[in-house]
């Protein structure tokens, strides 16, 4: 067994990532509600009607597919928020939903969308029970970004926001759990300034009383901040994070289940924090253990106790370390990181995907005379909430589409990657131009099916230009740009070589042409060419087989145009037409297009 060993000293782990602090802020507490005791009603109302037409070359021969689909829904989410006193708050959301075309109770559903309670005990300990949004670090509990979106045009935002609302995506990479959490902090007089403790436990899936056991997740974070040190006021922030996912084999009749424990140490060493420049060393490192445990009834020494055998065990490590600088006066933030995530590193609560590519599409799932399954494209990724998941903590890595995300399909915690990553953004206050850049040059650590290693390159850039303020037009006019380039390559013999390239470009324009009336224009296009192997996996993330080369030479585009009238900031009506076309050079006769016209009214109150 060839074993590659990197000795990473403890000092390496004393640097570590700033994301934990961001994640910690993600979970709000009662102090957000500054209003006093009482009962309040908030909520959201939405009406959506659409008609989609199927077209393109495919229809020249397709005599079986329906050419037009129309549907819609009317949704009212009524939030009842009660604060019996200033330290206790409960909230429930009742959803009333009616399918477009449902009458006299048919198609109408009433459900509880959300329930939670939170408060403060003895003015010291914060707690929350019920539904909660939770994140720790990108390697423990984290929801990676969705595929197919860089900086989408404003015209595509309304449908994307529907998906995010429906799936509880907060924009802070939090996961939606149902359970409980407890947070508190400690203040010190010497060396350590503060120590914060967070803990949580949640149920990810219930048992079906047969072959599916109850799956639970628990863990938390212990974070500390040092007092300022030395003449520069350097300050260290350290955190220990734990995320454990396990199946309760006493529930149901399942006799085997998952055990996944991830323990990490993250931190930031703020070396300099002056008026013009801030500089820090950041990083995170840790280890995962993934096991499949089998419960043997009466397998204990006395024959009466149950015993658990470990059927499969994998263990691996990761680390990420880098330097970050903030040029405060120019609004430039930049960070350079080295990452090393082991091939067997498995963190089910951080490596899942928002999109489940194995799910059926809501519209035109099968097309053509042979009723072939239609693959998910930009059209579907931008609106089909059925593709998106809320909790996909599974026993192995889920499927991905290399055309959309081949470099980091599972986000920062993607296993089997090492290399450098450059993050930079330009966000000066009150500036009309803002932008961001991500460059990642990575390589596999372990070859798949060969000793040869794949090389990955990722460039992701985005920019927003407030044309209205730049030209002093007095109206909200903005342009947006998003760009992603991905390259995957590998040398070797003719059966080992890999070469896959993908481009994703987004442009958008939003112009207020009359008071609160916006014209929205946008385009998104992707093209991919080349080939790669997409492995079939087993045992968490081991390669079981390669079904064949994944060969692609396809492109797709999504164009959108429409009007939006903003009654208030949280209330708008938009009417749009979006046109989608897909073409594959290998099968030109199967090229197709989709045209969708829709009206969406959204009201938050």
């Amino acid at each position: 067994m060839h074993r590659h060993l990197l000795h990473c000293g403890l000092a390496l782990l004393v640097g570590l990532a700033p994301t934990a602090a961001l994640a910690q802020d993600a979970e709000g507490g009662p102090p957000e509600e500054e209003e006093g005791p009482g009962v309040r009603f908030n909520g959201l109302g939405r009406a959506f009607i659409q008609e989609t037409d199927l077209g393109g070359t495919l229809l020249d021969t397709d005599t079986t597919s329906a050419e037009t689909l129309a549907d819609g829904e009317f949704v009212l989410d009524l939030e009842v928020n009660a604060q019996p006193n200033r330290v206790t708050e409960v909230q429930g959301t009742i959803r009333l939903r009616n399918e477009f075309g449902g009458f006299f109770g048919s198609g109408v559903t009433v459900e509880v969308r959300e329930l939670w309670a939170r408060g403060v005990v003895a003015n010291v300990i914060e707690y929350r029970l019920g539904d909660m949004d939770y994140a720790l670090t990108p390697f423990t509990v984290y929801l990676p970004e969705a595929d197919g979106d860089i900086n989408p045009a404003e015209v595509f935002s309304p449908l994307r926001e529907v998906v995010e609302y429906e799936k509880f995506y907060t924009g802070r990479n939090t996961r939606r759990f149902q359970g409980g959490s407890v947070d508190f902090g400690l203040d010190f007089d010497q060396a350590i300034q503060t120590l914060d403790i967070r803990s949580f436990i949640a149920r990810l899936q219930p048992t079906n009383f047969q072959d599916t056991p109850t799956r639970l997740i628990g863990g938390g974070r212990v974070g500390l901040t040092s007092v300022p040190l030395g003449p520069t006021g350097a300050q260290a922030r350290l955190g220990v994070n734990l995320a454990s996912t396990w199946d309760d084999l006493d529930s149901g009749n399942a006799n085997s289940g998952l055990r996944n424990h991830v323990l990490t140490l993250d931190g930031t060493l703020a070396i300099l924090d002056g008026d013009g420049l801030a500089f820090s060393i950041v990083g995170e490192g840790g280890q995962s253990i993934a096991k499949t445990a089998e419960q043997v009834e009466g397998g204990g020494e006395d024959g009466g106790e149950d015993m658990q055998n470990v059927l499969l065990r994998e263990r691996d490590t990761f680390f990420q370390i880098g330097a970050e600088a903030n040029l405060k006066q120019t609004g430039v933030n930049a960070g350079l990181h080295f990452v090393n995530v082991g091939p067997d590193f498995f963190s089910t609560a951080a490596q899942s995907k928002r999109i489940d590519y194995t799910r059926a599409l809501s519209q035109f799932n099968r097309i053509g005379n042979d009723r072939a399954l239609r693959g998910a494209g930009l059209f579907d990724l931008s609106r089909d909430r059925g593709l998106y998941t809320t909790n996909t903590e599974s026993t192995q890595l889920v499927a991905y589409d290399p055309r959309y995300n081949n470099v980091l399909p599972y986000g920062t915690a993607t296993p089997n990657r090492r290399g450098v990553r450059l993050d930079a953004d330009y966000m000066p206050e009150a500036s009309a131009v803002q932008g961001g850049l991500l460059v990642a040059l990575l390589q596999e650590i372990r070859g798949q099916g060969t000793e040869e290693l794949k090389d990955f390159a990722l460039v992701r850039a985005e920019a927003d230009v407030a044309i209205g303020s730049l030209a002093s037009l007095g109206r909200d006019i903005g342009a947006s740009l998003g760009l992603q380039f991905e390259s995957t390559s590998r040398g070797g013999n003719q059966f080992e070589t890999v070469d896959l390239t993908s481009f994703l470009i987004e442009v958008g324009l939003s112009a207020e042409v009359y008071d609160r009336l916006d014209v929205l224009l946008g385009a998104k296009t992707r093209s991919s060419s080349g080939n790669d192997y997409v492995p079939q996996l087993e045992n968490f993330n081991d390669v079981r087989d390669f079904p064949g080369r994944f060969v692609t030479d396809d492109s797709e585009s999504l164009l959108g145009a429409g009007l939006r009238y903003r009654f208030r900031d949280d209330v708008f009506l938009t009417v749009q037409y979006q046109h989608y076309s897909y073409g594959d050079d290998a099968t030109p006769a199967d090229d197709y297009s989709l045209g969708q016209v829709f009206a969406l009214y959204t009201m938050s109150f």
Binding site: R3, F319, I445
Partner: protein, 337 residues
């Protein structure tokens, strides 16, 4: 966030201990998954299929290990065919070699009939390699595998006194009906064939064959008395007579006289229609016949009834026809081929 004003220093110590445990960053770097060159490169047969013995005594507990080697992992199919019985044993795998772990044959069959003492030819083929040639080897079976269970009859002893043909309406074609050896039996050399035409009375009934116990107490010996675990097995032969209906019946001694008579309880299987060509294995727990534990130990006869589906018959009616062989009782599961 609200804060305590005290300082448990032990919390800091725990954090440092945890940090020390995280100081390694080693990974396993052996290539993951099947070798790509093996998986998708050209196929070459390195070593042709061979058997580790020329003769085998399955009844004595012996088995045959087939070996072969190729230059890559691929899907392979080893098909062993009896030269007299036509029995087929198929072993499939995905690997770069055949060995004792994946290509051991202990005399079982995949497609009926059972193997007999006979020569067999084993052919190795590669369905995913269109340019690969088949390779063969030969083994001589000295004795066939012994299967578990209590045999009611295999019809090997001709037409002895325990076998009764009920030709009550003279519908049977007696030139064909009876113990036969051609086509090959499912087990051994002989089976029982029933062929006839419901021409006398329009009552769907053609006739039956009844096998009675020759044990001293009049009851068949069964491997278990638990009805849910006691399986009645038989091999049934389809002769492409499409209007044929078969009913297997269990006869229980209702009056306790220890022998078959017309007052006994006769419990049928329900209609059985054969759709697959050749021999088919039939298995059903006695509990599904409705027998209790006491009745399971008082089975005095097994009957196979030939029915003509006159509702579907053309005019004039065509013969109906089936074969039956190797009636057995097994415990715990259907007879495993």
């Amino acid at each position: 966030m609200p804060r305590f004003s005290t300082f448990p220093r032990s919390v800091l110590a725990v954090g440092l201990v945890l940090a020390a445990g995280l100081s390694g960053c080693d990974h396993f770097t052996d290539p993951d998954g099947p070798n790509l060159t093996d998986r998708f490169g050209p196929f070459q047969l390195v070593e042709a299929v061979a058997a580790d013995r020329a003769t085998v005594d399955f009844a004595g507990g012996e088995s045959v290990v087939f070996t072969a080697q190729f230059n890559k992992q691929t899907t392979w199919v080893l098909e062993i065919v009896g030269q007299e019985s036509g029995a087929v044993r198929r072993i499939e795998g995905f690997s770069r070699e055949l060995n004792a772990d994946n290509a051991r044959w202990s005399g079982r069959t995949t497609e009926l009939p059972f193997f007999r003492p006979e020569d067999v030819v084993a052919t190795l083929s590669f369905p995913d390699e269109p340019d690969a040639n088949e390779t063969t080897t030969q083994v001589s079976v000295q004795s066939a595998r012994t299967y578990p269970g209590n045999v009611v009859t295999g019809f090997e002893q001709g037409d002895p006194g325990d076998i009764f043909l009920g030709n009550f309406e003279f519908d049977f074609d007696l030139s064909v009906t009876g113990v036969r050896t051609d086509p090959p039996a499912a087990e051994g050399n002989a089976f029982y064939r029933l062929r006839g035409t419901d021409a006398t009375l329009n009552n769907f009934f053609v006739g039956l064959v009844r096998v009675t116990s020759q044990n001293a107490n009049g009851y068949f010996t069964v491997p278990t008395a638990i009805p849910e675990d006691l399986y009645l097995n038989a091999f049934l032969r389809n002769f492409d007579a499409e209007n044929t209906i078969i009913i297997l019946e269990v006869v229980v001694d209702a009056n306790g006289n220890g022998r078959f008579d017309n007052n006994d309880s006769i419990i049928g299987s329900g209609d059985i229609r054969l759709s697959e060509p050749g021999w088919t294995a039939f298995s059903r727990p006695i509990s599904e016949f409705g027998l209790d534990e006491a009745q399971a130990q008082q089975i005095v006869a097994i009957r196979a009834v030939l029915i003509s589906d006159n509702s579907a018959q053309p005019t004039p009616r065509e013969p109906v026809d089936f074969g039956i062989d190797y009636i057995t009782f097994t415990a715990g599961a259907p007879l495993e081929l």
